[in-house]
Structures are given as structure tokens and as C-alpha cells.
Amino acid sequence: MTNELRDDSGLCAKERDVAAKVVDGEAVLINLATGVYYSMDKVSGVVWSMITNGSSVDQLTGAIAAHYRVPATQARDDIRRLVRQLLAENLITVADGPPPPASPDAPMAQSPGTYEVPMLNRFDDMADMFALDPPLPELPAVPPQNAQLDGLDSAR
């Protein structure tokens, strides 16, 4: 089912398992299946917005290199690495068809600011709280003495 990643393949956010929102240039994402959440700000916030429009690595590279005035080889390396991370975290997929034509109004801030290597910041510290499939915590606590539903019958 998974398409191979090529620089000209369109990308798309996984809509079923991932909720995301961009505010003030920062994308916040949560993988609803794992409870792990992510932030992508600055350059990576732009990359995320473009991915939700279906952009390919080629298109991302062109836009980022031009906007931040960095060599295309550097931008391509950084974007490939970021895209592979997003794929590995199950946040995006490789689309079946080619990407849509590049949008002329890419979601860039008006002044480019300094180029920083785009990062995916990953947080699993609240996974229990958010997780739809939560792991049991490693807790050195009292043993679960007849902890199951006994006693509840009488309460009901």
C-alpha cells in the first residue's frame, strides 16, 4: 500500500489518524493513534503547510531554497530528511499521483528570516493522556490487589 518516496511524488497528511493546526507559523500535530504530539515551527512550519497542499520534495526544495536563499542541495537534503521522519512517524503518506501544480502563494512569511534546518520536534510525555492506544505505565506501586471489576457489581 505504501508508495515509494521519490522527489517528485506528491505528499499528503494522514487525515484519519492525525490532527494538525498551524497557528502563527507553528504547526502542532497529534497522532491520535499513539498520543504522541509534534511541533514544527519556522521553516518546518512552512514545509508542513506545503505538504498539506500536496507538495512534493522537488516543490518544497524549490520554494524553500528560493525563499530563504540557501543552496538547493542543502534545502533538498534537509527536506528529504524531514519528510522521511514524517513518514516514519506515520504523519504523512506518499500520494498515488503526481503533486498538484505548485501554488503561487506558498505559505511563506513575508520576510524570510534566517534559514534554520527544519526540525520535527517530537513529544511523548503526555502520550498516556492523549493516547488512544496507551501503554501501561512503569510504576513501582501497590500491586493491583483484586483490582479488576470485583466489588463493582455490588455497587451497581
Binding site: 510504576l139 466489588g151 455490588s154 455497587a155
Partner: protein
Amino acid sequence: MIISCVIPVYNGERFLGEALDSVFAQTLPPAEVIVVDDGSTDNTAVVAARYADRITYVRQENAGPAAARNRGVRSARGDFIAFLDADDFWHPEKLARQAARFAARPELEISITHQSTFWEPELDDRRRAMQGHALTKEVLPGYVLQTMLARRRALAKVGEFNPELRFGEDTDWFIRAQDAGVPLELLPDVLVTRRFHKNNLTWQREADGLHNNLLDMIQHSLKRRRRNASDTNTVQPESQDDERTTR
């Protein structure tokens, strides 16, 4: 240890009695039980009146569960606060086992437990449709207020429940507690049963609204942590190791 139990209720006539029975069946009963009627239009007041000699009944204009909880906490006199919702119920040893944890770990501020889910038969179709969703699992970590027993000072430190949130106020509160570094322990014991029925607030949630709320909470939390990190010159907001060891 003086425990106050706060039960917010909105149109909860159907199950409030069972919830209260599970409180009064505790092997370590709370010193007081405060039922905050959030403007119910059904017979909630009639059910509550059956327990009049054992509860404090407060009625307010409908303002949502967060506001009702805040109201209850403000009028509570205990140094420990527990919450229960009117459609859920406790295991008889719930408070006793949590109290034992506070005795064993004096630095502990918040105790939560695992929860099981109980579906009323009227929701059989829905349950089948949700196959694979976490809520159809029988046992889950209880990051919900119904499982919580907390020191009152922990509530003061974290702050009130956000009354603007009509749902998810508990998640928001637990995130803030974690950001504030308040020591929390999740017991493996399954001590609360949550009931899903046709009138649950849960079913009135729009998934989009819920996710939107969740993303807002996460973003606020990230901002808070960055602010704290720059205040204390901590290296990275994501290095939450210190907090994790307290859990």
C-alpha cells in the same frame, strides 16, 4: 486527611443515585460530598434530595462541568479533593487505596487510577461502530477527574478548571499540572468505571471541535514550557525527563 468529594451533575437523574451509592460504599468514605447541580432540568434535584442528610447540594445556572467543579472546590473544606461524575462509579476501595499512596509517598500531590468502561446496551450499535477505538477497550489509564484524588494545594497550584471548555477541561488541567511539575502517580488498579450512555456529554462532542481543543491545549502547553525554559535557562523545552520521573 479530610477528603471532599465533588460531583458536578447536569440532567443526571438516571445514574446519580448509583454514583452516590458508590461514594457512600467506600471503605474510607469522604468527609463531605458536594453535589453541584449545573442547572438540571430533569429530576436530578429529587434524586439528590434522597441523600439530603449526607450531601451538600448546590445549584447553579448552567455553566458547564468545569464551572460546576470550580464551584464545588471553592465550597469544599477538605485538604484532599476527589471528583466523580454523575454517570460513573467508584470501586469501594478507591479512596482507601489512593489514601495509602499518599501515606507511602508524602511528596505525592495527585493520584489517579486506571478506569474501565461500561456501555449501556442502548449503545450497542455505536460500540460496534467504534470497534478498535480506545474507548471500547475495557481498561484505560484514567487521565480523567473521576479517578483523581488530589491535595487541595495541588489544585491551588495548577489553578481552576477552564470554564470556557465545555469538554476536555480535565485533559487541559492534567496538561497544566504536568507543566507545573506537580507530582502525579497513576495507579495500575482499576478503581473507576465510566459509563457510556445515550446522553453522555461525550457523545455531544464534535470530533473536530475536540481535536481543535486538544491542539490548542498542546500549543498553549508548548508555549508555557518555552517560557519556563527561557526563564530558567533550561536547554530544550522537550527535555521533560525531570517531570517524567515523578510519574
